[in-house]
Amino acid sequence: MDRATVEPRIRSIIEPFNKKEVAIADATTFAGDLEFDSLTVMDFVAAIEDEFDIIISMNQQAEIESYGQLVDAVTKMVAE
C-alpha cells in the first residue's frame, strides 16, 4: 500500500474529528491547527489503528505532530 492509497483513507477518517472544518494539508498540526485534546487523539488514533490493523504506540505518537507525518508513518507501518 503506497502513500497515495493511504492518504485518502486517513483523510476520510479525520473528517468527523475535524469539527472546525480546517483545510487539511501535510503541514496541518493536530494539537495546534485541529485543536485535538487527549481524548480526541485517543479516539482518532484508535480509528486509524483499526482501519490499517496497526499499533501506533504513544511513543510513536509523540513524534507525529502534523498530518503529513501521520500519513508517512502509517504508510511505513503498513509496508512493514
Binding site: 487527549s38 481524548l39 479516539d43 484508535a46 483499526d50 490493523d53 496497526i54 504513544m58 513524534e63
Partner: protein, 416 residues
C-alpha cells in the same frame, strides 16, 4: 519501535516582562484566581484542624462529616491499630533513616509483608513507601525497551508515570473496552514482551473493570497482567482481596498492586505476586531501592490493620449497605451519578461544569460535609465530579444526614 528523537524539542518563545520557567503555569494560575474570585472556599487547600474519628473532623472551625477520605474500612482509629503503632514507635523509634536494601528493613517490615502474603494467599509481597512508588517501580522495571504496556486510558497517574519512566511502548485503550484491548494485544509484534495494566475499581467514577473477561483475553494473548486494587482492597471480594477475587481470577493475575493509604488506614504501597523470580525486584526496582523505608510505627499499624481486614465481613456488609443507600438516595434526588448501579464505595456525582461544581462543593462544606472536588485533567472526559467515598464507620443515620445536606446544597446552587 520509535525512530528516536534526532534533535531536542524547540524552545517555547518567552514573551514579555518577567517570563521564566514558571510562565508555563500562567493559565492554571489564572483559572484558580478566577475560581476563588467567585467567592468559593479553596477546594484544594482545606485544613483538617482536628480529626475526631474516621468520619468526623473539624474543618475551618466547623464539625464536618468526612465523605471523601478513601478511609473505606475506618481503620485509622481502631484501638488495636493505634496500640501496635504506639508500641512500635516506642520500641523501634520514629524512623528507619534508610533504604529497604540497606539499614531500612526492620522486623516490622517483614511482619507487614507476612501479613500481605497471608491476606492475598500469595508467595511474595514487597512493601514500598507509597502506592504511587509501587506502580512507578514495578511497571517501569518489568516493562523495558521493546516490551509493550497495554493499559486503560483512565489509569491512575502513578501507572502513567510508571509507563513514562520506563522505555516500553505504551498502548492505551478506551476505558473498560474489552474489544479495544483485545485488538491492540493481537497487533503487538510476535515475540515482544506484553504487560496489561488494569485497575479493579477506577477511582474517578467508582466503576469496576470487567476483569473476568479482560484477564482471560490478556492471558490468551500471552501477556502478563498487573491489577491495581487500591480502591477495592479490604472491601470487595469475599475476603476483601479485591475485584480480582470477586471476578474469580486470583490465580491468573501475575501482580497485584495496592496501597495502605485507603482501607488499611495509613500510608505505604505494596506488590504481591506468585512469580518465582519476584524477589529480584528488591534489587532492580529503583523507587524501592533509592528511598527510605516506612517508619516502624507505620508498618506496625499496617500489619495489624491488614490482619483485622481478613475477618471484617460485617464491616464489608455495612459499607455495601451505605454505598447502596447513598447511591439510591442521590439518584432519587435527581443527581447524575458516575455509574447506574453502586459498584464500589465510591459514588461520583457529575457536575454540569467546574464553576457549579465548586459552588456545590463550597455549599456542602458550609452544610458540614466534605467530599472531593475532582476536575480535569484528573477526570475522564473533562468532567467535574463531586466524588464521595463511603466509610464502614458511617452510621445509617449519618448517610441520611448526608442526603439531606446534598438536597439543600443542590437546590441552593440550582443543580437539582
Amino acid at each position: 519501535m520509535s525512530e528516536g528523537v534526532m534533535q531536542a524539542d524547540q524552545p517555547q518563545e518567552l514573551e514579555g516582562e518577567g517570563k521564566d520557567l514558571f510562565s508555563k503555569f500562567d493559565d492554571t494560575i489564572a483559572m484558580r484566581e478566577n475560581l476563588l474570585a467567585s467567592g468559593v472556599e479553596d477546594p484544594f487547600s482545606l485544613v483538617m484542624e482536628k480529626v475526631l474519628s474516621p468520619t468526623r473532623a473539624i474543618c475551618n472551625g466547623r464539625e464536618t462529616i468526612l465523605l471523601g477520605t478513601y478511609n473505606y474500612m475506618g481503620m485509622t482509629f481502631d484501638p488495636d491499630v493505634i496500640e501496635a503503632g504506639t508500641q512500635a514507635l516506642r520500641d523501634f523509634g520514629s524512623g528507619t533513616t534508610g533504604s529497604r536494601v540497606l539499614n531500612g528493613t526492620y522486623q516490622g517490615h517483614k511482619e507487614c509483608e507476612d501479613a500481605l502474603r497471608e491476606f492475598y494467599g500469595m508467595d511474595h509481597a514487597m512493601v514500598f513507601s507509597t502506592g504511587y512508588q509501587a506502580n512507578l517501580g514495578i511497571i517501569s522495571t518489568i516493562a523495558g525497551k521493546g516490551d509493550y504496556v497495554v493499559l486503560d486510558i483512565d489509569s491512575h497517574a502513578s501507572i502513567w508515570d510508571g509507563c513514562a519512566m520506563g522505555n516500553a511502548e505504551i498502548v492505551p485503550f478506551k476505558h473498560n473496552d474489552i474489544t479495544a484491548m483485545e485488538k491492540r494485544l493481537k497487533r503487538i509484534p510476535e515475540g515482544a514482551g506484553k504487560l496489561v495494566v488494569l485497575e479493579g475499581v477506577y477511582s474517578m467514577l467508582g466503576d469496576v473493570a470487567p476483569l473476568k473477561e479482560m484477564v482471560k483475553i490478556a492471558k490468551d494473548n500471552g501477556a502478563m497482567v498487573l491489577v491495581d486494587e487500591a480502591h477495592s482492597m479490604g472491601f470487595i471480594g469475599e475476603h476483601g482481596r479485591g475485584v480480582v477475587e470477586d471476578a474469580g481470577v486470583m490465580d491468573d493475575v501475575d501482580l497485584i498492586i495496592g496501597t495502605f493509604s485507603k482501607s488499611v488506614g495509613t500510608v505505604g504501597g505494596f506488590c504481591v505476586s506468585n512469580h518465582p523470580k519476584f524477589e529480584i525486584m528488591r534489587l532492580m526496582c529503583r523507587p524501592y531501592v533509592f528511598t527510605a523505608s516506612l517508619p516502624p510505627s507505620v508498618v506496625a499499624t499496617a500489619a495489624t490493620s491488614i490482619r483485622k481486614l481478613m475477618d471484617a465481613k460485617d464491616k464489608r456488609a455495612h459499607l455495601w449497605q451505605n454505598s447502596r443507600r447513598l447511591h439510591g438516595g442521590l439518584t432519587d434526588l435527581g443527581f447524575t451519578l458516575g455509574t447506574e448501579e453502586p459498584q464500589s464505595a465510591i459514588v461520583a456525582v457529575i457536575m454540569p461544569d467546574l464553576e457549579q461544581g465548586a459552588a456545590m462543593w463550597s455549599a456542602l462544606l458550609s452544610e458540614g460535609l466534605y467530599v472531593n472536588l475532582a476536575r480535569p485533567p484528573a477526570t475522564p472526559a473533562n468532567m467535574t465530579l463531586l466524588r464521595c467515598s463511603l466509610c464502614a464507620e458511617h452510621s445509617e443515620e449519618e448517610v441520611e444526614t448526608i442526603l439531606g445536606m446534598f438536597e439543600r446544597a443542590g437546590k441552593a446552587v440550582g443543580i437539582i
